[in-house]
């Protein structure tokens, strides 16, 4: 499978190469795409490759960047974190790409970070993450914690919720996010006994982990749901869910079967977008909340145009093996797409593909792109300012937007900032 996909991606590369050769008069600029096209993360990350290729084609059709056509170099990280670092090295040292768009999991980002810093590359990172990071070589178009988890909690607090149960998959994003949330909730006057899931403290009594954690692929949620049911019996409770992938199905099935409903105890899920709903029985999720910088259901001219153009491109796409049926758009996809246009704007303003010059322009705070999710601005801290939306899940796997936070400034460093 891995080899086969390698072959596919090479074929895609060759094809893309041969296409650009026809118009190579004014030259091309190489751009890296670094996502897992095989392995466990392929389901999510392949969608990002698709939207990136679409963005490149869209830009090339309008004359490219600085008169040069974009030539994508697609490599497969294969859900293998050390391989991500090797592929990043290949992109930067062999292919000498001007910019790279890629990574999904925090661990893949952490493993390519040293490569990008050593070779002074530029990476655009599009997926919600835990913060506590600000590399000079990464532009985070992703949602920082204050652009996703915090607004979700604000919404629930405004809704009159007084008890919060934290549950997640056991890895860096849920652990860090929940620690930040714990501090935030305490600063909002929620007593510590109203935060469910359990606390783990180190020898000095400092909380090192808040909430309940299950491993990837966990299937038995009986005990945890029974605990939530007891937790929620006195009313005004909610759940902040950072469970990743597959395990959401047994969790929500158990949750629904135990008689808990979105009206009594809503679950705000931070890792479930429209793309994931394609393989979930959404019936069990109706009314539960999602929080992202983009929803497919956003009613705007830009979004309608984007969706129409992307689906049209998909239909006629010749990328081998691309999925054409039942496609949706979601926040990581749109933030990837925004990244391409933000980079284009910065390059055009700098008049050069040079990473240092592009970065200086990006950090000036003047690079904006009015995308499907509204206005994006790259701020001095390499993160983007953007709108944040809260949505309720509907039976058709879409979100109904119930609240919009306009132009939220990104704050990657949140730990220890509340209540002081």
């Amino acid at each position: 499978m891995k080899k086969f996909l390698h072959l596919l991606s090479t074929a895609a590369l060759l094809l893309a190469g041969s296409l650009t050769c026809h118009a190579a008069d004014s030259g091309t600029v190489k751009v890296g795409v670094l996502h897992s096209l095989s392995g466990t993360m392929a389901i999510s990350e392949t969608s990002l490759r698709d939207v990136l290729l679409f963005a490149f084609d869209e830009i090339n059709a309008k004359g490219g960047v600085l008169g040069k056509k974009i030539e994508p170099v697609v490599v497969d990280g294969a859900s293998n974190w050390p391989l991500f670092a090797e592929k990043a090295k290949q992109l930067l040292e062999v292919d000498k790409v001007a910019v790279t768009f890629g990574c999904w999991t925090s661990v893949s980002r952490k493993s390519v970070l040293p490569v990008f810093e050593k070779d002074n590359g530029l990476l655009f990172y599009p997926v919600q993450y835990e913060g506590e990071e600000e590399s000079q070589n990464v532009i985070y178009t992703a949602e920082a914690v204050n652009q996703q988890a915090i607004p979700a909690v604000d919404y629930l607090l405004a809704d009159g919720k007084k008890k919060f149960y934290l549950i997640g998959t056991d890895y860096v994003y849920p652990q860090t996010t929940n620690l930040v949330l714990l501090e935030y909730l305490l600063s909002k006057g929620i007593p510590i006994e109203n935060i469910g899931g359990g606390l783990r403290k180190d020898a000095e009594g400092k909380v090192i982990s808040a909430g309940k954690y299950t491993p990837f692929g966990h299937t038995d949620y009986q005990q945890i749901v029974a605990e939530i049911k007891q937790f929620a019996s006195s009313g005004d409770a909610c759940v902040i869910n950072t469970i990743n992938g597959d395990s959401n199905v047994p969790f929500f099935k158990e949750f629904a079967a135990s008689g808990l409903t979105a009206a009594d105890c809503p679950v705000a899920s931070l890792s479930l977008s429209e793309d994931e709903f394609r393989s979930l029985p959404t019936k069990d999720l109706v009314g539960h909340l999602g929080c992202w910088a983009y929803f497919m259901s956003i009613d705007s001219k830009e979004n309608d145009q984007f969706k129409a153009a992307f689906f049209k491109w998909l239909k006629s796409s010749t990328v081998p093996g691309i999925e054409k049926a039942n496609r949706v758009t979601c926040s990581p996809m749109v933030l990837s797409y925004d990244g391409v246009y933000l980079w284009k704007a910065a390059v055009e303003k700098a008049g050069s593909f040079d990473v240092d010059k592009v970065r200086t322009v990006l950090q000036s705070g003047t690079i904006t792109f009015d995308g499907p999710n509204g206005l994006n601005t790259v701020e001095k801290n390499n993160h983007t300012k953007k709108n944040v939306y809260i949505g309720e899940t509907k039976a058709d796997g879409q979100f109904k937007i119930v609240k919009e936070f306009s132009q939220v400034y990104p704050q990657p460093w949140l730990k220890g900032t509340f209540g002081k």
């Binding site: 692929g217 966990h218 005990q223 019996s233 009206a263």
Partner: protein, 595 residues
């Protein structure tokens, strides 16, 4: 929604219609009483009509208002709520309220009621069916926009419905409504609760009303009232009240007798929680054990009896899961997929997902899952395993290869993502026995596992086929000498084992994922159960599955960590097998090779 027809046939007597529909005199008393409570005065029929009109008018006002003020208007409606509004409130919750623009330009809110194949359109303001200017019934127009809801509006709707639920015909609904009202601890709700209590006849609902009143009284100015409320809540060991009682117990400004009563009440509640957790854990242990049992049962046949190390067992289970998915799609709108680039389309019956016939898809899926998995097993046995009966190591490798091939086939046919299988309604929900929750799907798996084990053991011990199977499994060549068609029996036995795996897959689709890699998650568990139980022993398999399940759940609760249970069980298993390598129940054999 059947009540709606009656309701609107005679709008002026709507309230009475509602009562007739209930066909229950005690309910009519309650409703009449409610109307009195909510509407303050008036008992004669024409007067009620006036209140009904007012309630309808207020509701219409809320529906057509801008979204930001809808919730507030609904809150105001609470005081004038009228039972005739219930279907409309519920309709709005489900976004079935639409706005009809009359030719004169006024906005008329309507409720869409879908009955079997037909759609009825009811006016909110009169309760009658919507009519055209000509007087004929209006036809449904798909362009009408639904009045949207958000969580705030839904909460207001729920509040109003909850209040109406105080007069519900079901005692458990009345109890739940009372408790919800009590948890708000608002003194304003005391008169409603008290007068309602005096009418209540059902003992459990009565207890709930007493609890609710006690909850509200916890905020009373009078310390004696607080104490007696605490005593009441302690006696009934009310779980929902725990937080409120704890607040009082922790509050150092309370007089000593209140603090003492609060601590005592807290203690009774905590004792009750302990027992609920205890029995809950036992139940969850048995249910997890049953899942393990169902998963391992097929393997107990193919590995335990036949000695084939079938690494493709997980994938054969998933065949059953995918079969369930296909059956679900056939009952719904059909299924289109494109294996190997060929576009295929399985047509569906197009049943409505809420109809009883669609809900019963799972019952059809069970035999389909069994047969499709058995057929897969048949092909696997004929194609691969029959050549390898004397070479267990090779059969391990070959079946592992087969499992990889099958995973890839699933990917090619159904795509790399998991397929969504929705559980039928009747398997959702739970039974509450003294606070211990037993989910129907878990009860179902226990009964199902027991039935399958019973059936299998009957087949093996009481039928001629079972006799042949046991003979062949004990000594293949000797059975052959006695004239038993061993190849046929082998194939049948293996297919049967695989069919059981298919049943497991069908069941797993109700509690978890079905995807190309799902089988891998369960294969370790399945082998663990069979090996611990003792290869070849059905009783051993049952006991080891239940034992592992219960132990896992007990460790999970006591150590408050969802992972540690499994880790310790596996570690314990390794130690156990050091001392008893043939498992709990080992089959005695005089075979030199096996001893």
């Amino acid at each position: 929604m059947e009540g709606v027809g009656v309701l609107f046939a005679r709008p002026l007597l709507c309230f009475c219609g509602f009562i007739n529909e209930m066909r229950n005199s005690s309910v009519s008393v309650i409703l009449r009483f409610l109307a009195v409570v909510f509407l303050a005065t008036g008992t004669s029929a024409p007067a009620m009509d006036q209140y009904e009109q007012r309630a309808r008018a207020l509701f219409v006002e809320a529906v057509v208002a801008p979204e930001s003020s809808q919730s507030l208007l609904l809150e105001n409606l609470v005081g004038s709520a009228h039972p005739c509004l219930e279907p409309f409130l519920q309709g709005w919750q489900r976004e079935q309220i639409f706005i009809y623009q009359s030719p004169e330009g006024s906005k008329i809110p309507i409720l869409k009621v879908e009955e079997n194949q037909s759609v009825r359109i009811l006016r909110v303001d009169t309760g009658e069916e919507l009519k055209e200017a000509s007087g004929s019934l209006a036809a449904w127009n798909p362009e009408w926009k639904a009045v949207e809801t958000n969580s705030k509006i839904r909460r207001s709707l729920k509040n109003t419905i909850d209040l109406l639920a105080l007069g519900s015909s079901s005692p458990s609904d009345r109890a739940a409504a009372a408790l919800k009202l009590g948890l708000k601890q608002s003194p304003a709700s005391l008169p409603v609760l008290e007068s309602r209590l005096s009418q209540e006849t059902n003992p459990s609902a009565k207890a709930a009303f007493l609890d609710a009143i006690a909850l509200v009284s916890l905020n009373s100015e009078n310390p004696d009232q607080r104490t007696s409320a605490l005593q009441r809540l302690g006696e009934s060991a009310s779980l929902p009240a725990r937080d409120a009682i704890k607040r009082l117990a922790d509050d150092s400004t309370q007089p000593p007798q209140v603090s003492r009563a609060a601590r005592e009440a807290l203690q009774t509640i905590d004792t009750r929680i302990f027992w609920i957790d205890f029995f809950g854990t036992v139940f969850r242990g048995i249910s997890l054990g049953s899942v393990l049992l169902i998963v391992a049962l097929g393997l107990a046949i193919t590995f335990g009896l036949m000695g084939v190390i079938n690494m493709a067992h997980g994938e054969i289970m998933i065949v059953g899961g995918y079969a369930t998915f296909v059956v679900q799609c056939v009952f719904g709108n059909g299924l289109a997929f494109a294996p190997f680039g060929l576009s295929m389309n399985i047509p569906g019956f197009g049943f409505d997902p809420s109809s009883a016939i669609y809900q019963s898809y799972f019952l059809v899926a069970l035999p389909v899952a069994f047969l499709s998995a058995a057929a897969t097993g048949y092909v696997l046995e004929r194609g691969v395993i029959r050549f390898l009966y004397r070479r267990p190591l090779e059969s391990l490798l070959a079946t592992w290869g087969a499992s990889l091939v099958m995973q890839q086939l699933f990917r090619l046919i159904f795509g790399p993502a998991n397929v969504p299988v929705a559980s039928p309604e009747w398997i959702n929900g739970s039974l509450n026995v003294e606070g211990v929750l037993m989910n129907y799907n878990r009860l179902f798996v226990i009964v199902f596992a027991a039935a399958v084990v019973f059936g299998t053991s009957l087949l093996l011990t009481k039928t001629p086929l079972g006799l042949l199977i046991r003979a062949v499994m004990q000594d293949r060549s000797m059975a052959g000498c006695m004239g038993v068609p061993t190849t046929k029996v082998n194939t049948l036995t293996f297919s049967f084992g695989c069919g059981l795996a298919g049943l497991a897959g069908a069941f797993l689709s109700q509690i978890g994922n079905i995807g190309p890699g799902t089988g891998q998650t369960y294969i370790v568990d399945a082998f663990m159960v069979v090996v611990l139980g003792g290869v070849g022993s059905l009783t051993g398999t049952v006991l080891s599955a239940l034992g592992i399940g219960t132990l896992d759940q007990i460790l999970q609760t006591t150590l408050r960590n969802p992972v540690i249970g499994k880790v310790l069980v596996l570690a314990g298993l390794i130690v156990f097998l050091q001392f008893k390598p043939s498992g709990l129940f080992s089959a005695k054999s005089r075979n030199l090779e096996e001893s």
